[in-house]
């Protein structure tokens, strides 16, 4: 288990030392090798039965495992995509650099995210989420121009302050356990949960929710997110949206677990619901009049984080986790495809893109599938999870929340489909760079097939895993 964390870290340090253009190919090999080894180690976890783990510092439970698989899959896809994307980008007129920093930051980022999802020690969890910010800030600054600098500065400052608030919250949570003789592991806190000082724990939970919520992109702390997602290179946007937000989400889920065990489930659920709804509404407002398709996708991430938060709040645990899976895969698919569009049209404006289906049929088809899936139309996976959340919500009597939820989903459905279909239809545009390489089509194709098939049939093993993870959030 520990190898999932050690290998990327080691590779990151090695690639940091390999400077200069001469080692470009070597660095790429390290990136791919790191991704594939991470896959192998992740897949071996269920068969190792807890060997090589250093509880509670490295301890993958079924909740963490869901997130770990997502990180591993999406990271591999983006690494392969990078192989096609960056050489093509360098050929275009834009002056772009990043060089040896890029690969090592990617690997550091992978290591930090892996640690964040595979620890149950809340101090280590906090450190890991903090390091994801630091590892990814240089990635957002990849283009090294004014706009990316602005995005990176906002990201760094807002998320650092957010994380600092989360630390304060952590102190309050720890202070609430004063005199109980607990360790800072999740298991220990949960088993002593009944004895926690409720007033302090409530304060702590609010602060943690605000802190990690900033990182997760919950409105009204989401300001960094559209800028960072639109200015980062597309593979990085895919990583940020598909995996980084999930890490912060898991941070919140961990404290929600403690809260449930402490008998404060109603309190934390209500907070999650409120922030989820605010995010949904804010995202809807900004999506409606969005002209930049990468920002559109970024706001859609805020929307989906809102949906997940709302789902957890109303107790639809299985559906929310399913939605985490669906959103991550779909959004990675969409951001990578957006990278293709950006290369083909060299513009982020929705109005300047048209005729995608004719210009590059594979990209066009992938974009159609992705857009349909993200707005929640059947038969794709996000539809199933959004529907399950709705069902649970209505069964639980949250009529007003569910009404608002449906209203927002409807408005977003209209806005995104309108933007997407404007981009797809129209006349063909001539290629500038020839055919897109395979590496820029294959990763998205895998995601597209996955979300389509999982919309029809959820494999038994996946369902079992998600149910086990959902049970960890069951009210005690």
């Amino acid at each position: 288990m520990i190898f999932t964390f050690i290998i990327p870290l080691l590779f990151a340090i090695v690639t940091l030392l390999l400077r200069g253009d001469a080692y470009r190919v070597t660095r790429r090999r390290f990136l791919i090798a790191g991704a594939l080894l991470h896959n192998a180690c992740t897949l071996s976890i269920p068969f190792l039965h807890g060997e090589f783990s250093y509880k509670p510092f490295i301890d993958v439970d079924s909740l963490g495992f869901v997130f770990l698989i997502l990180i591993s899959v999406i990271f591999t896809a983006t690494s392969f995509y990078s192989l096609g994307y960056f050489p093509l980008k360098r050929r275009s007129a834009e002056k772009e650099s990043g060089g040896h920093i890029y690969v090592s930051c990617m690997l550091f980022f992978l290591a930090a995210m892996t640690l964040a999802v595979s620890t149950t020690q809340i101090g280590v969890l906090w450190i890991a989420i903090e390091s994801t910010t630091l590892a990814s800030a240089p990635l957002i600054y990849y283009r090294q121009n004014k706009r990316s600098l602005e995005a990176a500065w906002k990201y760094l400052l807002i998320c650092s302050v957010g994380i600092a608030i989360a630390l304060l919250g952590l102190f309050f949570v720890v202070a609430s356990a004063k005199g109980l003789n607990v360790e800072l592991s999740l298991a220990s806190l949960i088993s002593h949960a009944k004895g926690l000082d409720q007033k302090l724990f409530r304060l702590g939970f609010i602060l943690v929710l605000i802190g990690f919520g900033t990182k997760m992109g919950l409105a009204p702390f989401h300001n960094w997110l559209p800028d960072a997602h639109s200015e980062a290179p597309s593979p990085i946007s895919a990583l940020l949206s598909g995996t980084l937000l999930n890490c912060a989400l898991l941070g919140i889920i961990r404290f929600h677990q403690i809260s449930l065990a402490a008998g404060l489930g109603a309190f934390s659920s209500r907070l999650l619901m409120i922030f989820g709804l605010i995010s949904l509404v804010v995202a809807t407002i900004f999506i409606t009049r969005q002209k930049d398709y990468k920002r559109l996708l970024a706001y859609s991430s805020i929307e989906h984080m809102g949906i997940i938060s709302l789902g957890l709040g109303i107790g639809a645990n299985f559906a929310s986790l399913l939605h985490v899976v669906g959103h991550s895969l779909t959004k990675a698919l969409l951001f990578l495809t957006a990278g293709n569009i950006l290369i083909l049209y060299r513009s982020k404006n929705v109005s300047e893109v048209s005729g995608l289906l004719k210009t590059s049929p594979p990209t066009g088809i992938l974009f159609v599938i992705g857009s349909l899936a993200i707005v929640g139309s059947p038969p794709f996976l996000p539809f199933i999870s959004e529907f399950l959340i709705l069902k649970t919500g209505i069964a639980g009597g949250h009529t007003i929340a569910m009404g608002l939820y449906l209203l927002c989903l409807g408005a977003i459905f209209v806005s995104i489909s309108k933007a997407a279909f404007g981009m797809i239809q129209g006349k063909k545009k001539e290629y500038i760079w020839g055919e897109l390489p395979k590496f820029m089509i294959a990763p998205q194709t895998v995601f597209a097939i996955a979300i389509t098939l999982m919309g029809f049939y959820l494999p038994q093993y996946v369902a079992m895993l998600l149910e086990a993870a959902g049970r960890m959030l069951g009210t005690l």
Partner: protein
Amino acid sequence: MNWILIGIVLTTFIVLGSPRIVPRIKAVAVQGGLLSILQFIMRGTLFDIHSALLLAITLVIKTVVIPLLIFRSIKDVTQTVEKEQAIGSHLLLLMAALIAVLSFSSIRLLPLTSDVSLSPLLVPSALTTVLVGFLILVTKTKATNQVLGFLVLENGIFAFGMTIISEFPMMVEVGVLLDLLVGVFVMGIMIYQINKTFDNIDTKVLTALGDVE
């Protein structure tokens, strides 16, 4: 101990109120030093190797390394008296004073201070420092000042950490120090880049991104 806490609050006010950048950075350095000593006292144990070492590390990082990093990042920036914040400095100081009054008067609301061995000033001072750090962050527009605001905020959180330091010493120290050191390092690089790209470090120039055209 009370004198140290008063010193921490005062340095916070200097960071907020001083018109020049150099005294501000020095004030943050002094505040870091005061916090390291506070932490040493709070640990209670006299001279064991561990706490002496921690004192040395926190002192070096908070009073030497971080201020030097900031000094380095603004080396090429022309230093002038600044009139940059959105709100005038008198009003700003008044707001900070109000924050301090409210924090010190709301002391009974937070049940953190049930421990009699703690100074009753600890929690209000920490709260003041955190909130004024926020005030600095939102009202100043120069990148360096925002980093200083962030440092004050972190120092306040560190002071909060003193309430649990007897039980979880590592948690507090590792968390805060790691965060600060690496964070400021990355921010220092960014300030340098902002200066290089825009010829100044005022974040008011960072307005290209947004949803409204």
